[in-house]
């Protein structure tokens, strides 16, 4: 792997862009517990970046730092070439970083379409007044947003359940709807918190395919956390490995797989892989 500022082409021909986000020496504490200890890594445009590690390694905390749900005590987040001031989750979302949750956070009372449409909220620009009286640009904007939502619904093959209230869907479908909602924001970075947790094999395969397709079709940069080692190795361009809040490995799946520290912490000792 050549470290070029403008990006590079991987061995299997994937085009990877320049660095879009960089975490610098992030430390996050809860009281006396250090959930994340001095971790640095970067995310490049167009890549699929995985964060893996055993239970309690601090993976989800890391994702929450990126998406603004947690504010780290130390360290800096650099996004699109500028240092990011500490901000609220909704501001992070407005900056074009969308996410899904490990325990699915959908709007249970709404239909699938309405859920996906909420993903467009950051793109609705018309002011309070114009919206209130439903005039001017508001209508055209609604139509345009609707078109994007429908395209994503088609893309993720959930047309059949467009009008179904989310509360009636299966777990696997809910995960897909949540992905659709995040995608509807047309994010520059998409954060996926264990997108395949709790799924059966078939659902996992579907989800993997969708993640790859999204990355291909929309060129979306994806940061994902995953437990399932096999899936991660197949999907990702580069992998960060965490253990007890520390970074113990960073590189291509091939590098990571042959890293002794990783094997000890994750593959060799903890599991009978």
């Amino acid at each position: 792997m050549k470290d070029q500022a403008d990006g590079y082409v991987t061995a299997d021909g994937r085009q990877i862009g320049p660095v879009v986000m960089e975490m610098k020496n992030i430390t996050l504490r809860f009281g006396g517990v250090e959930a994340i200890k001095d971790i640095s890594f970067d995310v490049r445009e167009g890549e699929i970046r995985a964060i893996i590690g055993p239970n309690g390694a601090g993976k989800s905390s890391m994702l929450n730092v990126i998406s603004g749900f947690y504010v780290p005590q130390e360290g800096e987040v650099w996004y699109k070439g500028a240092r990011r001031a500490p901000m609220k989750p909704f501001q992070v979302a407005q900056q074009g970083i969308a996410r899904t949750f490990q325990n699915i956070a959908l709007f249970e009372g709404m239909t699938v379409l309405d859920n996906v449409m909420t993903g467009r909220l950051t793109h609705m620009k018309t002011g309070l007044f114009a919206q209130s009286i439903w005039k001017g640009k508001a209508e055209a904007e609604e139509t345009a947003n609707r078109a994007v939502a429908e395209r994503i619904i088609d893309f993720l093959e959930i047309q059949a359940i467009r009008k179904t209230p989310v509360s009636r869907l299966s777990y696997g479908l809910k995960k897909r709807v949540e992905l659709a909602r995040a995608l509807a924001a047309e994010p520059s970075i998409l954060l996926l918190d264990e997108p395949m947790a709790g799924m059966n094999v078939e659902e996992k395969e579907d989800m993997s395919r969708f993640i790859l397709d999204v990355n291909d079709e929309f060129g979306t940069t994806i940061v994902l956390i995953e437990h399932d080692m096999g899936v991660v190795m197949d999907l990702s361009d580069r992998v960060v490995v965490m253990d007890y809040g520390k970074k113990i490995g960073d590189g291509t799946p091939h590098d990571v797989r042959n890293n002794q520290a990783v094997i000890d912490a994750y593959l060799g000792v903890a599991h009978d892989a």
């Binding site: 609220k88 909704f90 949750f101 709007f107 449409m117 909420t118 909220l121 209130s132």
Partner: protein, 329 residues
């Protein structure tokens, strides 16, 4: 047609009109409860406060005049002008939005994530605080309110029913106007919530805070918006009640009738608030007419609504339209 039946019809019609006003207050409760999980005990006082402010502005009263006079030894009470109703309503709305902002900024922003009972206690505090501020700002005397809504018996209904039943119904024009305005308000709110950016964000916040944050919705902004809307609904309710029976401090007690309305309709349902309000309104009037007055010595209107709510609590605790309470094992 026997006179008794015609009488009962008239009572029903009047009950519907009274129910509309209960529903208006209940609507304010539902708006805030849905979006923030706060049961706003102060909703009734907000209606009172809005009505006091409106009446005060229209009369050209100097706010806090007693306080000012006591401190500076002056003797000012009135500016000496009358503000037209339309302008006064706009100004009052500005005050209600400022109140919404202050309440969110000074109180509830610091209580995010607290137990519901703590939020509820905070609203009780808010209710008494607001009542005191209303008193201090505008004085405690009963004010009349006239924003130009038609009042008095509706002649057309009187004549028509007289021709039909041989008995003229007494329906107040104000009640008819109140019903129409309430209906428009509800339709407007539903359209707003359904089709606008802010409405979508509002529904998102009502459904799931975490998810709402992740799609870029500011909870603070939505809560201020919702409190402002509740302030607007309170203003409308305050105008109706104030025009009907004068702006007086008992207004905040009437608002307590919204509690049984909510128990009937469900705390999270806008249609529920409307239907619940109508049922209570008609129910208490009819009960008084059919059973209360002849058999129980009257004055059943005071407790009928609570009795009905109690029965509902036993048999259908989520109300008519509330979200079903399902325990999964």
């Amino acid at each position: 047609m026997p006179e008794q039946l015609a009488f009962a019809l008239e009572v029903t019609a009047n009950g519907l009109m009274a129910g509309v006003l209960y529903a208006l207050v209940a609507l304010g409760f539902v708006l805030i409860y849905k979006a923030s999980g706060i049961f706003n005990y102060a909703q009734g006082v907000m209606a009172l406060f809005a009505a006091l402010t409106l009446a005060g502005i229209m009369d050209g009263q100097v706010p806090f005049s007693h306080l000012i006079n006591a401190i500076f030894g002056t003797d000012v009470h009135y500016f000496g002008w009358n503000v037209p109703a339309f302008l006064a309503i706009l100004l009052t709305m500005v005050v209600m939005i400022a109140l919404a902002y202050a309440v969110q900024r000074l109180v509830f922003r610091h209580l995010v994530g607290q137990e519901p009972i703590i939020l509820f206690m905070a609203t009780i505090g808010l209710a008494y605080f607001l009542e005191g501020v209303g008193d201090l700002m505008w004085g405690s005397d009963i004010k009349s309110m006239d924003v130009g809504l038609p009042q008095g018996i509706n002649g057309w209904i009187d004549n028509t029913t007289f021709e039909l039943f041989g008995y003229g119904f007494f329906i107040d024009n104000l009640d008819i106007v109140a019903s129409i305005i309430a209906a428009l308000l509800v339709i407007g709110l539903v359209i707003y919530a359904q089709y606008t950016k802010q409405g979508r964000a509002m529904r998102a916040v009502a459904d799931d805070h975490q998810a709402a944050l992740s799609v870029g919705v500011s909870l603070n902004f939505i809560w201020i918006l919702v409190w402002s809307l509740a302030g607007f609904v309170a203003l409308v309710a305050g105008i109706m009640w104030g025009t009907k029976s004068g702006v007086q401090f008992s207004l905040s007690l009437i608002a307590l009738k919204a509690l049984p309305v909510l128990m009937l309709g469900g705390f999270t349902s806008i249609p529920g608030a409307i239907v619940g309000g109508l049922i209570i309104g008609v129910g208490e009037k009819l009960f008084e007419f059919l059973i209360g007055a002849p058999f129980l010595g009257g004055a059943t209107e005071n407790w009928f609504a609570y009795m009905l709510a109690l029965i509902f609590l036993v048999f259908r605790p989520q109300g008519l339209f509330g979200e079903k309470i399902i325990e999964r094992v």
